[in-house]
């Protein structure tokens, strides 16, 4: 299994632990991730709000870089990048007007031939859960988590073709294999305020606070995410949420790759578990993994 790996800006800065744990897990399982050389930002939300063509051209540029590596499949971990790459591909495949314009901007021909997959999808639908379960060294029993998918991973369904849009279950399935118990909660695809982290911090605090509260009420000991924006809003802003709403949440926000890594017996430091603002090591010790 060989993929052109598109980390995206967050995984190189605020979400380093996601990058570390993904590479560690992929390495252990023998999934080859080769970083696209000179990849550029996908443009994220500001691009599609401001200039439509640019929001297609930036992801297409990256897909073309992947194609030049002779790789027709791209793996990515950031839910927002995944969404932008998928949307761009959708346009390039199905919309000839936009395809022509974008090809003119890039100066190359592209029509959606490079496929994009999220790492979660690769683990479950390419590597297969059954194969994964055979590789597990330490089962993470006694851990109860809320799987939080966020808004961009599954939507829009016809573009991402990933999981159910209202009631996704891939991450829950993965957790069950590891021995972790996922709680049944209603906020799986609620929005955390994502791109407003800097501009409308109040909105983010309210939305993220609601998510933490709901997870807590359902008995989760941690929240598991697949998106760096969700993670930083819930983790970095947790202290501010506590202060503003007079709560005392102490809820670790983990990436699914980190839990997979622990179950595969990878050293917690190699999974970046020391990089969180809300320290998860206490919880991990208490369930007897360390």
């Amino acid at each position: 299994m060989r993929y052109a790996y598109f980390p995206g800006c967050s995984l190189h800065s605020t979400a380093k632990e996601y990058d570390l744990s993904t590479k560690a897990v992929a390495g252990t399982l023998g999934i080859e991730l080769i970083e696209i050389p000179e990849w550029i930002c996908c443009g994220a939300t500001p691009a599609h709000i401001t200039m439509h063509l640019l929001s297609l051209a930036l992801p297409v540029k990256n897909l073309l870089l992947a194609k030049k590596m002779d790789s027709y499949e791209v793996a990515t971990c950031c839910a927002a990048c995944f969404n932008r790459l998928k949307v761009a591909n959708h346009f390039m495949e199905n919309d000839s007007v936009h395809r022509d314009k974008v090809n003119e901007i890039i100066g190359e021909q592209y029509s959606g031939e490079v496929k994009v997959r999220h790492f979660l999808d690769i683990l479950i639908n390419v590597f297969w859960l059954k194969n994964l379960s055979e590789r597990i060294i330490k089962r993470l029993d006694n851990l109860k988590v809320a799987c939080y998918y966020g808004c961009l991973l599954t939507r829009p369904g016809e573009v991402t073709q990933f999981d159910d849009v209202e009631e996704p279950h891939l991450m829950d399935d993965l957790m069950k294999i590891l021995g972790v118990e996922p709680v049944d909660w209603p906020y799986k695809t609620e929005c955390c305020g994502a791109s407003f982290s800097l501009t409308k911090t109040d909105i983010v605090l309210k939305l993220s606070g609601d998510i933490l509260q709901m997870a807590y009420d359902e008995g989760a000991q941690a929240i598991v995410v697949a998106c760096p924006l969700c993670q930083s809003n819930l983790d970095l802003r947790q202290a501010m949420i506590n202060k503003k709403f007079k709560k005392n949440f102490d809820m670790p926000i983990l990436y699914f790759t980190q839990l997979v890594g622990l179950a595969l017996g990878i050293d917690p430091l190699k999974l970046g578990l020391n990089k969180h603002i809300v320290n998860p090591l206490k919880l991990i010790k208490s369930v007897g993994v360390l």
């Binding site: 994220a44 939300t45 401001t50 200039m51 808004c151 800097l198 409308k200």
Partner: protein
Amino acid sequence: MKWFISHDTLRSLFQETLEKDCGEKVSHCYQCGKCSAGCPISFQMDYLPNQIMRMVQLGMEDQVLSSRTIWLCASCLTCTVRCPREIDIAEIMDYLRRRAYKKQVIPLEETEIPLFNKIFLRNIELFGRLYEMGLIGMFNLLSGEFFKDFSCAPKMFLKRKIGIFPHRAKNIREIRDIFKRSGKLAHSKKDRLLHPKLLFLNLFRKFIGKIEKLK
């Protein structure tokens, strides 16, 4: 007196332009309200998403483009996946924001978000990848919130989560070309990326706000 919205009132020029430009059929909206029911930001909006759809149908372009709603929409796509009429409401919000940029309509209340978007894009144009320090510094400076999120910075540095220096892209020329040509094809001039009028208004409002607080 009851006023019935007839089929004629619902055929505005604004609606026609929008349908032609972005391909979404606003005219199909039958005001079920499902989009607003699920919208996570509706509690902060001045008009709910379904009201925006109705306003487009009625041709209320000025009110729509200067509303807070279009800037507060977080592009979470909840409305889009739920609309029973298969209208991509999030895409319409995108379209409306782009139209507002193009027409230089500056919202009176929500100035931070348009400003942030432009600083973000400028950042990508300069470095190829996001340079967080530059983004935060620039945003704080231009929005007049100099010390915002100062308390988070030390934690981020300690955990080595945020770099001091930007990444140097080797293919920066190509990236800038993409920006230039996208702008040309979309007929949006690059110098509009950071409009002085917007900056001035922003700082002015912050200043007034601070003075009022002092009082």
